[in-house]
Amino acid sequence: MNLTLLMYLIPSLIMFGCGVYGFITRKNMIAIMISLELMLNSVDINFVVFNRFLFPGQLEGMFFTLFAIALAAAETALALAIIINVFRIAKKVDINEINKLKF
């Protein structure tokens, strides 16, 4: 039995589906961020796996993942800072109740 490309893509796909589900259903902003991380991570896996299986001599996928991790770290840090700030003002992290800016 061989490990094929497909076998790595399926867990990644399921992880992405979970991310989508979590992003849409969760009300807690931090939980939404966590779902976002899941989706990002599944994309990272895809990059790496495609790189490794299809173009073993090159490193684009790997570098892309590297930069994506950096980006994700920056984005999460900033988002969490905003969330904490919002919490300081509104005493809530529920996305449906943070609607002051809507009107």
């Binding site: 094929t4 966590i34 790496v48 969330i83």
Partner: protein, 171 residues
Amino acid sequence: MESVGNIILYFVIALAIIVFSVLTVTTRRILRSATYLLFVLFATAIIYFQMDYEFLGAVQIAVYAGGIVVLFVFSILLTHRPGERADALTNHRKWIGLSAALLGVAVCGYSLFSYANFCSKTLASSNGLDIAQLGHFLLSTDKYGYLLPFEAISVLLLACIIGGVVIARRR
């Protein structure tokens, strides 16, 4: 033909990813959710190791597991009381999320299986990746050099630091 250890490792990882991903988005305790995320990230790191991208795996563990998840935990502890549970999902909401997720999985899965021959590629042997070589790639302007994105990320991180300071500052 893969070694049996590799195959077993794969199945363990795949199972872990699937189970913990699902648990991450279904648990009602946010701190557990962060913990399950940590497990998923570890499993991902193991995939990278399996792919012979050791540096990437190390980064994954250091940045994601060491950095981001710790940030999550901090912010969760700042904003939640211990043991606080989120409200149960309404059916309506659940169905919307499920439909989107399942539809996505179905469409992507269908496309994956329709490219079966292309997806059945097996793992080619690699000659490992040297960290020094990686450094050269990152700071080179030649073909396959990544100096420009590297600098762009640096500026982005700087901007993030400033942004974080500005946002977090008390007025």
